[in-house]
């Protein structure tokens, strides 16, 4: 098998992993086993995988409250992620972070973020750090259509542009900012048009086409590495689940959701392509889904069997050398 085919199959597997992870998380949240609240990225797998499949562990990613997919696509450990969702001491953050605050600095994930647009100023700093250290790393920030209306986005895109930082701004336009339709909160339909204001390329992509996303990401990475500065990518996609699990979703018609799921599911689309190109068969696909399922079962088992932190561990990890 060629390395390109291997990459495509690996991308497919990662998309399936995200889908199954999110489905599992949703089920266990509904069953009351995951505390707090969680935001799922079902239907947006192509954006996570298309971009992160182009990155190396040394490259940086900052993500959002809806970040599970980006974390998985960047290589996060499923056991430690699941344990963190369950609030267990074996989780990535020893139970201090939860779904919205997972990071793995050893593979360049500088953090999910509970503040909408919170990752953009940080990624600009990571980009500046790369430039000062003169490495060939790149720094990617994911944010949503809702975040795109916040002030820090303007400051970060402007600063990254004047300094020609190796940063990629990936806006996932999933049509809804919490309850608010994208068309209400911004008079642009194509958010990538905003890139022009910062003199950087803005690439609008069918965000449910993983190959198209990957192509845009490769182009942006190439620009970043050659010192030409930042790129904005708009992945047009759709948030299949509510803003949070349990969201009554009175702001949209369920028929709209079903249409997207039936006609534009990024995994089904990619699967059709792979089958057509004889990279994947129905049988092989089932094997992948089953393998991922058992991997997740292990992660779940690990999380459920792990202890909670001791209450007084709440006082640890605030300062270095405290």
């Amino acid at each position: 098998m060629t390395s390109e085919k291997k990459t495509l199959l690996s991308m497919y597997r990662t998309m399936v992993t995200i889908r199954q992870f999110e489905t599992m998380a949703g089920e266990h949240f509904a069953a009351g086993q995951i505390p707090g609240f969680i935001h799922l990225s079902i239907g947006q797998e192509a954006s996570s995988v298309g971009v992160c499949s182009c990155l190396r562990p040394v490259d940086y990613v900052a993500t959002t409250h809806r970040g599970h997919g980006h974390l998985i696509a960047k290589g996060a450990d499923l056991k430690r992620m699941t344990a963190e969702l369950f609030g267990k001491v074996t989780g990535y953050c020893k139970g201090k972070g939860g779904s919205m605050h997972i990071a793995d600095f050893s593979i360049g994930i500088i953090g999910a973020n509970g503040v909408v647009a919170g990752g953009l100023p940080l990624i600009t700093g990571a980009g500046l750090s790369i430039k000062l250290r003169k490495t060939d790393q790149v720094a990617v920030v994911f944010f949503g259509d809702g975040a795109s209306n916040r002030g820090p986005v303007h400051e970060a895109m402007n600063m990254a542009s004047i300094w020609k930082l190796p940063v990629i701004f990936v806006v996932e336009n999933n049509q809804y900012a919490s309850t608010t339709p994208q068309g209400y909160s911004c008079s642009l339909r194509d958010l990538c048009q905003r890139a022009a204001a910062y003199n950087m390329p803005g690439i609008g992509v069918d965000g449910n086409d993983v190959i198209a996303v990957r192509k845009a990401a490769l182009e942006a990475i190439s620009r970043a590495r050659s010192g030409e500065g930042p790129t904005m990518i708009e992945n047009k996609t759709y948030r299949v689940r509510g803003h949070f699990e349990g969201d009554p979703q009175k702001y949209r018609n369920q028929a709209e959701v079903i249409t997207w799921q039936k006609e534009n599911d990024p995994i089904a689309r990619f699967e059709q392509l792979l089958v057509k190109d004889r990279i994947l068969t129905g049988k092989k696909s089932k094997t992948i889904w089953d393998e991922v399922k058992s991997e997740l079962d292990e992660a779940l088992e690990f999380a459920k069997n792990s202890p909670f932190p001791k209450p007084e561990e709440a006082l640890e990890d605030l300062f270095v050398n405290a």
Binding site: Y60, A62, G91, Y92, C93, K94, G95, K96, G97, H101, I102, A103, D104, F105, I110, G111, N113, G114, V115, G118, L120, P121, L122, I123, T124, G125, A126, G127, L128, S129, I130, L132, R133, G151, P152, E155, A156, N158, M159, I162, E316, D317, L318, F319, V320, N321
Partner: protein, 327 residues
């Protein structure tokens, strides 16, 4: 090695030059840094010596602060210049929601060696949005250290400790004190550890607990009180978080009386926290209620007559000391 007279501004520049020489991951980022070596000349010599490590930004306080956080997370030791401390309001999310919480939220995975340098304080007739003392906001945010130096030597020793610290440090340096000279050791390893107060004048009758510009008010008041037969001990706290309660306790056990003095406004100020701790930990050692001397609870007004009325003066300290000494 000897001590030299130098301004607080020069002490800061000297410390930064020494630290930047020692560690190439240190850089300074903020607005208007290079044209005049900082708007107060506080970075004199740095633009010439390290042109690529003192970086002018657009007017974008949110992203300047975020830049510091992101760079600190990825191997650098940034110093963020906030231009005027008042503008921290434009970077509060990056300081209080990101810098303060990142290490903790992520279970101690990462260090965040960031210094946020904030020129603060009143007295320059700069009015309400360029004159504040906001240290209490950050003391109230777990995850940040808070340093407020007074004399030039403290500036040098504390900025070095702050730069070498692996945690985010809010460093407030009073604008009116930049030109004030003091003796500064020329030893490049002169470092004042964070969390160590200094007894700068000894006395047996009352403890004056202060920091920043309040220190000079207290020293002035202590001289006048001595002429009236009251020996005030002046403790310069220097670091508000971590706080050196030990030095405070030793002093109060001796004097049995205390007055807390700061330039920030009274209500909800650092004095409230300090007085609460004193009454909880040293109640039996007190012969009088602990009083606070602070600015009045209004924004800092412009007209000199108004501003001088609002901010604390030595006479206010003297009056409070007499009250707690029942004189």
């Amino acid at each position: 090695m000897s001590d030299r007279m130098m301004s607080a501004s020069a002490a800061l520049a000297e410390a930064l030059l020494e630290e930047m020489e020692r560690d190439e991951t240190i850089f300074i980022v903020g607005e208007d840094l290079t044209a005049h070596a900082g708007i107060f000349g506080q970075f004199k010599g740095i633009p010439e010596k390290y042109p690529s490590r003192i970086i002018d930004t657009p007017i974008s306080e949110t992203c300047i602060a975020g830049c510091g956080v992101g760079a600190a997370l990825t191997g650098m030791r940034p110093i963020v210049d906030f231009h005027f401390s008042d503008f921290v309001t434009c970077g509060m999310d990056e300081l209080c929601n990101q810098a303060a919480k990142i290490r903790y939220m992520f279970g101690g995975q990462v260090k965040l060696p960031l210094v946020v340098w904030c020129p603060d304080g009143a007295g320059l007739r700069a009015a309400a949005q360029h004159s504040q003392s906001l240290e209490a906001w950050f003391v109230h945010t777990p995850g940040l250290k808070v340093v407020v130096p007074s004399e030039a030597a403290d500036v040098k020793g504390l900025i070095k400790a702050s730069i070498r610290d692996d945690n985010p440090v809010m460093f407030f340096q009073h604008k009116r004190l930049f030109r004030r000279e003091g003796l500064v050791p020329d030893n490049p390893e002169f470092i004042i550890p964070l969390g160590k107060a200094a007894v700068k004048r000894e006395g047996k009758d009352v403890s004056l607990l202060t920091y920043g510009s309040g220190f000079f008010i207290c020293m002035d008041a202590a001289s006048q009180l001595a002429e009236q037969g009251i020996e005030a001990e002046v403790i310069d706290l220097r670091t508000l978080k971590p706080l050196d309660m030990n030095t405070i306790a030793i002093s109060i056990k001796k004097t049995n009386r205390a007055v807390v003095v700061h330039e920030a406004c009274l209500t909800g100020g650092f004095g409230a926290e300090l007085v609460a701790r004193i009454q909880a930990e040293l109640f039996d050692d007190l012969d009088a209620p602990v009083l606070r001397v602070a600015a009045k609870d209004v924004p800092i007004p412009f007209s000199p007559v108004l501003e001088d009325f609002v901010i604390p003066k030595p006479a206010d300290v003297i009056q409070s000391v007499k009250t707690v000494c029942y004189r």
